[in-house]
């Protein structure tokens, strides 16, 4: 019953996000701040993870195709497919659910605990729009983050494969180009946009409607991470079935 209530409350919150907008000069600053916190602040960890996971994917693939009948360019092909189709959009989004999601929940939750949200509401400010809308807009830049992740994942794969002696650079690049379907990139960015919206709104929901004190802020962050991840996985399945199935 609680799940159903939260489900309804989430959609009512979304309606409120897009009503009674905050004045543009203020909103503009809020959006820039969120871009700095959510996008720019996440680049370091995403660059690091993407590069090394790309490398690991390439090495694992190379180690598992020892048969002389399987061409070596398959290392590049598999790295490309893994990174573009799943690793960059989905795996990075799960990591972002932990990094950005818990930040969003704890920052909004702390505002709730310290009555800052009440202060906004008493002033007549649409607190939901003021706090959540800039996050949604900032995360419109999320596909750029994923594009960087894709590029670095493949670069990491190439470096690991070539420097480790698993394949040649030419073979790897041939694998990257072979049977390339541009729609796979469209599919990846379509689901990235869906994940960006989930990353902005579900953690905000758990922060905004939390009750209690500091301990509950921590609990809300954990719950937000779990539900954001679950919803990302489900939406990933549904979009994959719809777009590629």
């Amino acid at each position: 019953m609680q799940y159903l209530e939260n489900f309804g409350k989430y959609f009512l919150m979304l309606r409120e996000v897009f009503s009674r907008p905050t004045k543009w000069p203020i909103m503009k600053n809020l959006i820039l701040k969120e871009i700095d916190d959510l996008i720019y602040g996440s680049l370091g960890i995403i660059i690091f993870i993407s590069f090394f996971i790309g490398g690991v994917v390439a090495i694992q693939t190379a180690l598992n195709i020892e048969s002389p009948f399987i061409p070596k360019y398959l290392v590049g092909f598999t790295t490309r497919q893994s990174v573009i189709l799943e690793f960059a959009p989905t795996f990075i989004s799960i990591i972002m659910a932990g990094k950005v999601g818990s930040y969003i929940t704890s920052s909004i939750g702390t505002m709730r605990v310290t009555e800052q949200i009440d202060a906004l509401e008493v002033m007549g400010v649409n607190a939901v729009n003021f706090l959540i809308f800039p996050k949604i807009i900032a995360l419109l830049l999320y596909p750029f983050v994923i594009a960087i992740s894709m590029y670095l994942g493949i670069l990491g794969g190439w470096m690991a494969a070539v420097t480790g002696g698993y394949t040649t650079s030419a073979e790897f690049i041939k694998g990257l180009q072979i049977d390339f379907q541009p729609f796979h990139v469209v599919y990846a960015f379509t689901k990235t946009m869906a994940f960006a919206f989930i990353l902005a709104t579900i953690p905000s929901f758990y922060g905004f409607y939390m009750k209690g004190g500091a301990l509950e802020v921590g609990k809300a962050s954990t719950t937000a991470f779990v539900w954001t991840s679950v919803v990302i996985i489900i939406v990933n399945y549904l979009l994959t079935q719809m777009l590629l199935g």
Binding site: K23, T114, E115, Q116, D118, A119, V122, M123, G124
Partner: protein, 255 residues
């Protein structure tokens, strides 16, 4: 002026406010007192429009709240200032930005104009050198002063304070009390303070509403509270030995 008529509010089976009727006049510091669980916070939140009453009416300068549409309610909220128990300052903003916030949100003032207004109110609350500091970098008493400055910067008609003295030392508490009282008189604001602090009651309680179990058990001024023989009030206000002696001395002096 705020008029409250037969206000009722329940949460499920819990009937919190049971028909409160009272008036809070402009230019006076009005205090709501009562034990924990007596309904003070629900009453204050109802006055702020954060709780919708089940029955009864609240009139702000003869305007009935329940008859207002959303647009009028939002405009009314811009006539209100609120000082929260924990100050509720936006911790990512400096003192100056906090105080300027209502002006940025609800006026079309130029930056210079806003800056001038912020300087005036910060000076009024005796904070002249904290403009660029973050809330975390100033003391609790200073945070309360910033909260008061933010509450009055947009020249509100109604000022609400929830436990403005909580967590403050006695000397700072008196300074905050006097500041709220002076501002109330100076700007002719209808001020309603929710408090447990008996010093505030004695110092600035021009009108006191005592709540007990959701009912208005007594109302009067800080002068009258010494003389009252209402048992509920005397048990609550004079629960400490010190206040018992103060009252006794006051009554002996009068006799």
């Amino acid at each position: 002026m705020i008029e409250v008529r037969n206000l009722h509010k329940s949460f499920g089976e819990n009937h919190v406010l049971k028909g409160i009727t009272t008036t809070f006049e402009a230019g006076k510091t009005n205090l709501i007192i009562g034990q924990s669980g007596s309904g003070k916070t629900v009453f204050l939140k109802s006055l702020l429009g954060l709780h919708v009453p089940d029955k009864g009416e609240i009139l702000y300068s003869n305007r009935v709240y329940s008859e207002m549409d959303e647009y009028k309610k939002r405009n009314l909220r811009q006539e209100m200032g609120m000082v929260f128990q924990g100050s509720a300052l936006f911790d990512s903003m400096t003192v100056e930005e906090n105080v300027m916030f209502p002006l940025k949100m609800f006026t079309r003032m130029e930056y210079e104009e806003m800056k001038e207004r912020v300087d005036i109110v910060l000076k009024r609350v005796n904070l002249t050198d904290a403009h660029k500091k973050l809330p975390a970098e100033i003391s609790g008493g200073m945070q309360k002063r910033v909260a008061i400055a933010r509450a009055i910067v947009n020249k509100p008609k109604y000022l609400f304070c929830d436990e403005p003295n909580s967590g403050l030392d006695p000397k700072t508490a008196i300074i905050i009390d006097n500041l709220i009282h002076e501002i109330t008189v100076e700007y002719d604001i209808t001020t309603v303070i929710n408090t447990h602090d008996m010093n505030s009651v004695m110092e600035i309680g021009e009108k006191i509403v005592f709540l007990k179990d959701g009912h208005k058990a007594w109302e009067g001024s800080n002068k009258e509270i010494f003389k009252t023989d209402n048992e509920a009030v005397t048990n609550f206000v004079y629960s400490s030995e010190l206040f018992k002696k103060v009252r006794q001395m006051y009554l002996e002096e009068r006799n």
